[in-house]
Symmetry: C2
Subunit: 386 residues, 2 copies
């Protein structure tokens, strides 16, 4: 990533996208396109209960494909789960991996694909561009409009021993195909819809101000911000299919943006929080996003004013006022959606903040943050968020 | 394409993009990524003279790659040229195809890749989705900001016997990687810059109003229209690198849009004109685009008003007035760039119009036109353009 930046060149790469109501019907066709004879399906109990796992299996059987179903995946997937999954993938002699779920099953599926094909332990691949051998074909079906894992070259896996959420980043982690069917969102709870959408909003904002943003990612970031601001309140109140569909489009665009432009200090902190406290990822953004934006302001005033103008619906007297007004309004926006706004709501003791920040300072997401941030800068951000 | 539409699902698929000044330096690395040992390089004399062919060969040799250079490609590439190229590709035992050029060398390279891997004659593959076997890896380097061939699943090849420009459309015609280096545009003539940019504008407008446009293609179409309107006049006057770079971004976005949403009646007619008269493709759009837009107006008034508002910089009293005002202003915009505005400037005899329109009525691009158009509707459009 760094070398490409120094040349003034930007990479933009996304999977093949199949988008729309009912697009789930294409799972069998797409799996066969990828050469499947036996599919390794990764999902979780929530999606089993909602009937989606049975629906996928039915589609696979109609397409005369064999399958193995793996559901041993936690929210914030663990290192050992990907290693167990990889063992099982090899034992079952499967040839294509399908993930159905939010960020956790999708990232777990990436980890399984990685370990199954490249061997070793998942932590061997922590960081950027450390994967050498090709992965088995991957077909992803996101069940939330947020993580962007179905679009991105990121996989976030918890190292249980170190209590760290590792970021693994590689072009080969981009799935071959993503099937995005907004109908799946209708069976999701209000809380999950909000948490996922605010995760997507954080992706959009952090990628927009990233050091390696390009015209191709900026376009996607801005559209995602616009759509989430416009449609999340209605999705929260009514869960109408139209508004959920717009959140899907937003989350997909935000995925395109952050996969190619990277993220920033907010996600670095969010990963550390998740590693230590196993917090639901979507819950931390309303807490961290405003103070991180405030910290980044001097490094990207013009872009922050663009975001501010979108949040406020107008520009104030100066770019700085617009940017600050936008951050303030964004905080209210999250509050109106019932999101927790203070770090003390999820961290038990202030005492833990320095460790948290030292860990975040080592996260690869920090490399693309627009403003240099040392661990004690992150401590100040956390104090602000307390 | 049709089946997917009936399900309410949209496909969106693009190559890996490497964009930026100096990105040409990545040619060797990317070719090796694609598994190259011997590269088959397709380009033309214009690019040889400007020194770009030598530059590419130098980069390949530095990467210790063998190469064969093929330049037997006409403007509007011919069927037999793709077949000769395929024979040569096989004889040389090459394994990756690199195209450097505008639409003609790039489409020729697609034709060569297709015949070399799938056999037979190029005309066996005319139409949509008729390619069964995988193609050799393709790495494209566009030298104009217009054709979008480096992004798209289209290849346009002239059937010399029938004097028809065949549209060949397939997912497998999307190159693996495109390297877009705006520095190449600096050696292009004013005329070529304008012709290419207006081709991209036509791609953007036709894909925006296409029957199978999706939120992902519409975003790209609108941005492309916006950028071309804003930057083409300056690129025409000054050929500044900044404005050329913006046209590159526009053309790339328009390529993403039309590759996935298709085109319409204007391109159907443009292909027939090119087949019969061997016209430079970019020259026909200023002539055909306004009357085709007028014809399509009743089928997509709201979208045409969106385009109109972009062209005019404001909305008039009604959507219809905005749309019509936009079409009128677009005609002036092309006139100010010195483009020919009447069909009589490129067709010798009115007598030839019915044949031209009958041929266009069979073009696959017509399938996604927002308004049903029979050959006699196309005749009326041509009379309007005369």
């Amino acid at each position: 990533m760094k070398r490409i930046k120094s040349m003034g060149a930007h990479k933009f790469s996304i999977p093949e996208i199949i988008f729309g109501r009912g697009s789930l019907d294409y799972v069998g066709t797409c799996a066969r396109q990828l050469g499947a004879r036996k599919v390794f399906l990764v999902s979780d109990q929530g999606l089993e209960k909602a009937g989606w796992v049975a629906r996928i299996i039915d589609t696979l059987e109609k397409g005369r494909l064999r399958w193995f179903y793996f559901s041993n995946v936690a929210c914030n997937p663990r290192d050992f789960q990907t290693e167990q999954g990889a063992e099982r993938y090899l034992a079952e002699d499967a040839d294509v991996i399908i993930a159905l779920g939010g960020g956790s099953p999708m990232d777990a599926a990436k980890g399984i694909a990685l370990v199954a094909s490249n061997g070793g332990k998942i932590k061997d691949y922590e960081g950027a561009n450390r994967i050498n051998k090709p992965l088995p074909p991957m077909l992803f079906i996101p069940s939330t409009a947020g993580s962007g894992s179905d679009i991105s070259q990121f996989a976030i896996i918890t190292d249980v021993e170190r209590r760290v959420k590792m970021s693994i980043i590689s072009r080969t982690l981009v799935p071959n195909i993503t099937i995005i069917d907004p109908l799946i969102l209708e069976t999701k709870s209000q809380e999950l819809i909000v948490a996922a959408a605010i995760d997507a909003l954080a992706h959009a904002i952090e990628s927009y101000i990233s050091r390696i943003a390009s015209p191709f990612t900026e376009l996607q970031s801005l559209r995602a911000i616009e759509l989430i601001l416009a449609h999340l309140p209605r999705a929260f109140r009514t869960r109408s299919l139209e508004s959920l569909e717009q959140l899907s489009i937003a989350s997909t665009g935000a995925g395109m943006a952050f996969s190619n432009a990277g993220l920033g200090a907010e996600h670095a902190l969010a990963h550390s929080l998740g590693g230590i406290f196993d917090t639901l990822h979507g819950l931390v953004h309303p807490i961290l996003l405003p103070p991180v934006m405030q910290f980044n302001l001097p490094a990207c005033l013009d872009k922050m004013a663009v975001i501010g103008a979108m949040v406020l619906g107008r520009r104030l007297e100066s770019p700085e006022k617009t940017a600050l007004g936008g951050i303030e309004r964004l905080r209210e926006f999250c509050e109106e959606l019932g999101a927790p706004l203070h770090l003390r709501h999820i961290v038990r003791d202030k005492f833990q903040i320095p460790d948290l920040c030292k860990m975040a300072a080592g996260d690869v997401c920090l490399l693309t943050n627009p403003r240099e941030a040392a661990w004690n800068d992150l401590v100040r951000i956390c104090e602000e968020a307390w």
